[in-house]
């Protein structure tokens, strides 16, 4: 399979990249690790005339942690995301997602921004990021805007990105005390596997041994984009964490899921639904452990 013809640009700075995007508009695409884009170009699903390569811009590879939270550059590689201590210590579910993505070779190239830009509901990083309430900072030569990641995805393979806009950074707030998160993904094999279902859960307790103050559960592969399991979240709030309530949340999450029963998808709709239930319970368990664990 051959790549279609395109013009390759490698801007040195974010500003230069934004100018190019303004100039080429819809005929250009951002190239980060290329692990999605180049594959799709080879399959002739996409054929941009211009590729603007950004993965060597240092500014886009940062991980800034402060008492308020994290700012991650869009081009931080997935392997660096997986091995970052700053991320691993407080945002373990994001590390778990990064570790579950592809293989070492893919992780070395793949970027966090690319994982969002692809807007696949099977992607490994959005569930945890959404569960943590992450925001994305989008930049163009004309403006900069920040919005919740949840609002960034508008449909299967669709985002709010304008033609001249790029993802600049991802921001995650410092988790509140007594909170924890978990991420689980289910594939056919152990790695290098686009997932059948993935789920991230995040809960905050009102104190040690206290009730659940807030909960966010995000499900992948069961809708056009990653979905919030709203009714499962609702039932958790105000309750003491425990197996029974988690099981109930799992059942409600199954109802919140809307998997497609497409004949040729990786698994049947019924199986995906059932697995949402299982993974919801498991991730809530992990989140609970973390919320009551030594971190606080």
């Amino acid at each position: 399979m051959l790549l279609p013809k395109f013009e390759f640009h490698e801007p040195k700075t974010v500003d230069e990249a934004c100018q190019m995007m303004a100039e080429y508009g819809a005929s250009a695409m951002v190239l980060a690790g290329g692990t999605d884009l180049l594959v799709n170009m080879k399959k002739k699903l996409l054929s941009p005339q211009h590729l603007i390569a950004i993965s060597r811009i240092e500014e886009l590879k940062k991980v800034d942690s402060s008492p308020f939270g994290l700012k991650i550059g869009a081009c931080l590689s997935v392997s660096d995301t997986a091995s970052s201590d700053a991320i691993g210590k407080k945002w373990g579910a994001l590390s778990a997602g990064a570790k579950a993505l592809g293989s070492p070779q893919i992780r070395n190239l793949a970027t966090i921004g690319g994982n969002l830009g692809t807007a696949s509901s099977a992607a490994d990083l959005p569930p945890s990021l959404m569960a943590y309430g992450a925001r994305v900072v989008l930049k163009s030569s004309a403006r900069e805007r920040t919005l919740p990641l949840e609002e960034f995805f508008t449909g299967s393979k669709r985002t709010t990105l304008a033609d001249d806009e790029m993802i600049y950074e991802i921001q995650i707030d410092e988790p509140a005390p007594y909170s924890g998160a978990g991420y689980e993904s289910l594939g056919v094999r152990s790695c290098q596997d686009i997932k059948i279902v993935n789920v991230a859960s995040f809960i905050t307790l009102d104190g040690p041994g206290g009730i659940i103050k807030s909960a966010r559960i995000v499900m992948g592969c069961v809708g056009p984009t990653h979905l919030r399991a709203h009714s499962a979240e609702k039932i958790l709030v105000g309750e003491k964490p425990g197996e029974a309530i988690f099981a109930r949340a799992g059942e409600l999450a199954m109802q919140d899921a809307t998997p497609r029963g497409a004949a040729f998808s990786r698994a049947s709709a019924g199986y995906k639904k059932d697995m949402v239930g299982v993974l919801t319970v498991r991730t809530l368990g992990t989140a609970w452990k973390e919320a009551t664990g030594e971190r606080n």
Partner: protein
């Protein structure tokens, strides 16, 4: 201590340095002056009439040097089995599968060739298509080939003994089935080739193939060239597993384009084309009925198999025969009836893959035997031991187990896995299971009926006597055969491995049927041994005349001449050698023993270049019934495996915790290579058991023609593997050696099926055991049990 100096060791592979440093040359690395690139135009439809082909736009594209269709290629029918030659180089009347070949283009670069192919206009008239066995057999179903009535491309009906009578005497009769999915060989290196055509009309094809000889013959036949004008050369090959065991359209098209343009033409399959033209494992549906006595004695097997064969016959006749014949052993089975049907459909053609034809049949039966043992209250391992064949036994279908360490294999895995403390004693969700299997050590007959030798080997000693060059047309495809033959040659001549150089994979080196049916170690090994011993005799004969010592009083070992009786005065001989090499710094000293190098230099003076030849064809083999040719072999390798698994009952995901594997390969030539084959077999078997499945949409188009969505096991999916070598002595093999390449895949799937049952109490009769299938099976099982 071993009686051998070279074989039976762990000598490093002769190709290791080249491969480890990336210097080994594969087709994709090769380039030639003026080389063109070829591309194929392939059908987007599974079944359609071709009403017209217009190549004019393609020919006009700058950079295009030739476009060929059936008009240039002709309509010679070819294929694998002469009884089912059902392909032409290009389709002319209709296409029968997505990917069927219509035309090929040669151009100055790949992009131009691909673009030109897309400019060829084909006027198709779509026909209704059949994709499943049921669709193909339905009344009034469209025919894939007019010749195959009801779309049955081959059928087999055999009975040995009297099954119905035997079943009447049984205490327990059990019927079960197993349905598998199409598997792909999924080797790392896609097929590729470069064809050249010189001004004297010699065609040379460099190709990523397992069988230079069959490719040579097919090319000669289909292109109308004398065999002597066609040479096929195999560079290093990145795996074959069966898919590269016959001539492909790619090779045909490249040759045709080279002949048309007079320029070298390179063509490489992309991964999707590997799936479309791989001709790998069929989909099998087996139903078996086994009858046993209360004490576990197996009395009879009634077996029906349905194979989804795809658009062309390829190896399919052999496949459907193997699916039946390979159940004749390794258990004593006096009565066996087999009805096998291979069905033509409009999916890509299937052919041979590791464990040809036998793997799913074996899996079905070995699961059934486990169920029978359970009902009889017997340990399944004991049930097998009770019925086990030993060396000298002959199966009801005339397979002669000239050596058989099957019993030893079972005992070895039983002890190594601690079976007795685990079987039935592991906690819920964890399980252990075992199975056995055996396989031919080389097909007894060539694919085409012939009196040909299956292989010829030449060994030539360089004039200085320092190096022996082994020339064989056999195929090193990653399995280590070059190392094996270098070791056998060294042993046979009595010299160190370092003095042997091997050149292989070129039809100019002689005849060798190639790397399939696990034949090379035994067959090419025999020919190599014979050639090596022939060299040794020639050297000793020359020496005998010089020294007046009878040949039988001498031998060669570790590179030196051994005088069994009195050592003669060697000074004159040694001085002659030294005089030949005045000022050389590495001359042997006068006091040293007489070396092979000196002796063969002396032999060269009287005989000229010392050339030893060897050849092999199997002795007369058993079986006079129709189809006896498939399954008969000079020897059989066998193995037993124990799988330990854990099952996540909430998700249905299986984790293989450990594999314990024993294989009887006769004398191991290279122990490391034997273990590597066992590891590779297990990986391929576990993939088929757990994940692998080629999928199509309802138009016969591939859904997962890439290695992201076609899921082979990754390193992380592989469990710890214990590979234990059992060495029987095979009288028909070189130094007692026989196969390990394919036999070892036989037990894997069934061992997993049986372990899964041990873990969760559920029997599953469809593959692969992906999480959803296992989850649903558990759910169904629980619902059924709840009702009761």
């Amino acid at each position: 201590m071993s009686q051998y100096d070279v074989i039976g060791t762990r000598a490093p592979r002769v190709d290791a340095p080249a491969k480890a440093t990336g210097r080994a040359i594969f087709v994709d690395d090769m380039s030639m002056p003026g080389m063109l690139y070829g591309a194929l135009l392939q059908s987007p439809y599974a079944h359609a009439l071709i009403r017209g082909i217009d190549v004019s736009a393609a020919l006009k594209l700058p950079g295009v040097k030739a476009v060929v269709t059936h008009k240039e290629a002709g309509l010679v029918k070819y294929g694998v089995s002469p009884a089912r030659y059902d392909e032409t180089i290009f389709c002319y009347d209709k296409v029968r599968q997505v990917g069927d070949n219509i035309a090929a283009v040669a151009a100055v670069d790949m992009a131009t060739a691909v673009e030109a192919a897309s400019l060829i206009k084909v006027d198709y008239e779509e026909l209704p298509a059949v994709f499943t066995i049921e669709e193909a057999l339905a009344d009034g179903a469209p025919l894939v080939h007019d010749d195959y009535k009801r779309n049955i491309s081959a059928e087999v009906h055999q009975e040995f003994g009297d099954v119905e009578a035997a079943l009447k005497e049984c205490d327990l009769i059990k019927t079960t089935s197993l349905k598998s999915k199409r598997q792909d060989c999924a080797f790392i290196e896609p097929q590729g080739c470069i064809a050249t055509y010189d001004l004297s009309g010699n065609l040379t094809l460099y190709s990523s193939t397992q069988t230079t000889h069959y490719v040579q013959r097919s090319l000669a036949m289909a292109l109308g060239a004398p065999v002597g004008k066609v040479r096929v050369v195999k560079p290093y090959v990145g795996g074959g597993f069966g898919s590269k065991a016959s001539a492909s359209h790619l090779e045909m098209a490249a040759c045709l384009l080279a002949m048309q343009t007079g320029k070298p033409v390179k063509m490489i399959f992309d991964r999707e084309q590997v799936f479309l033209h791989g001709r790998a494992r069929h989909q099998f549906v087996h139903t078996m009925t086994t009858g046993v006595k209360k004490d576990g004695t197996i009395m009879a097997l009634k077996h029906e198999a349905w194979l989804n064969g795809g658009a062309y016959s390829s190896f399919g006749i052999a496949t459907v025969y193997y699916a039946g014949s390979l159940l004749g052993g390794p258990y004593k089975l006096p009565n066996m009836k087999y009805d096998g049907y291979r069905i033509a459909t409009n999916l890509p053609a299937c052919g041979a893959q590791r464990g040809h034809g036998g793997v799913i049949a074996r899996s079905c039966w070995e699961q059934q035997l486990d169920m029978i043992a359970e009902e009889l209250g017997m340990d399944p391992l004991e049930l097998r031991l009770k019925n086990i064949m030993t060396a000298g036994d002959v199966t009801c279908n005339d397979l002669d187990m000239s050596s058989l360490g099957m019993k030893e294999c079972i005992e070895v895995v039983r002890d190594a896995s601690d079976w007795k403390n685990k079987k039935g004693k592991l906690p819920q969700g964890k399980g252990i299971g075992m199975a056995c299997g055996f396989f031919v050590s080389g097909a007894g007959f060539p694919i085409y009926r012939s009196e040909t030798f299956h292989c010829t080997v030449t060994i030539k000693v360089t004039e200085d006597g320092g190096t022996a060059i082994v020339s064989t047309a056999s195929a090193e495809i990653g399995q280590g055969s070059d190392t094996t033959f270098a070791m056998i040659a060294a042993e046979g001549m009595g010299i160190p491995l370092g003095m042997v150089r091997i050149e292989s994979g070129d039809t100019d080196f002689g005849v060798d049927l190639g790397a399939y049916s696990s034949r090379q170690t035994l067959m090419t090994g025999q020919a190599t041994k014979q050639a090596a011993e022939n060299v040794k005799m020639q050297v000793l004969d020359a020496l005998s005349k010089e020294l007046h010592v009878p040949v039988e009083d001498m031998d060669i070992k570790k590179g030196y001449i051994v005088f069994k009786k009195d050592k003669p005065d060697l000074s004159a001989l040694k001085t002659r050698y030294i005089k030949e090499h005045r000022e050389w710094t590495d001359n042997p000293s006068l006091d040293d023993e007489l070396s092979f190098r000196e002796a063969s230099r002396i032999a060269f003076f009287t005989k000229g270049t010392i050339v030893g030849t060897g050849m092999y064809k199997p002795p007369e083999l058993g079986g006079k019934f129709k189809g006896a040719a498939v399954g008969t072999s000079p020897a059989y390798g066998c193995s037993a495996q124990i799988a330990e698994v854990s099952v996540d009952e909430q998700t249905g995901r299986i984790t293989i915790e450990k594999m314990t594997d024993a294989h009887d390969c006769g004398q191991a030539i290279n122990r490391t290579s034997v273990e590597a084959q066992m590891h590779g077999s297990m990986a391929m078997g576990l993939g088929e058991a757990l994940f692998e499945e080629v999928k199509f949409d309802d138009k016969g188009r591939l859904l997962n023609g890439d290695l992201a969505e076609y899921k082979m096991p990754t390193a992380l999916d592989m469990p710890p593997m214990e590979a234990l070598i059992v060495e029987s002595h095979e009288p028909n093999g070189p130094y007692g050696a026989k196969e390990v390449g394919e036999g070892n895949i036989m037990p894997t799937i069934a061992a997993v099926l049986n372990a899964v049952h041990d873990a969760i109490g559920v029997r599953i009769h469809e593959l692969p055991l992906n999480p959803e299938r296992v989850y649903l099976a558990i759910k169904e099982y629980r619902e059924k049990n709840a009702k009761q």
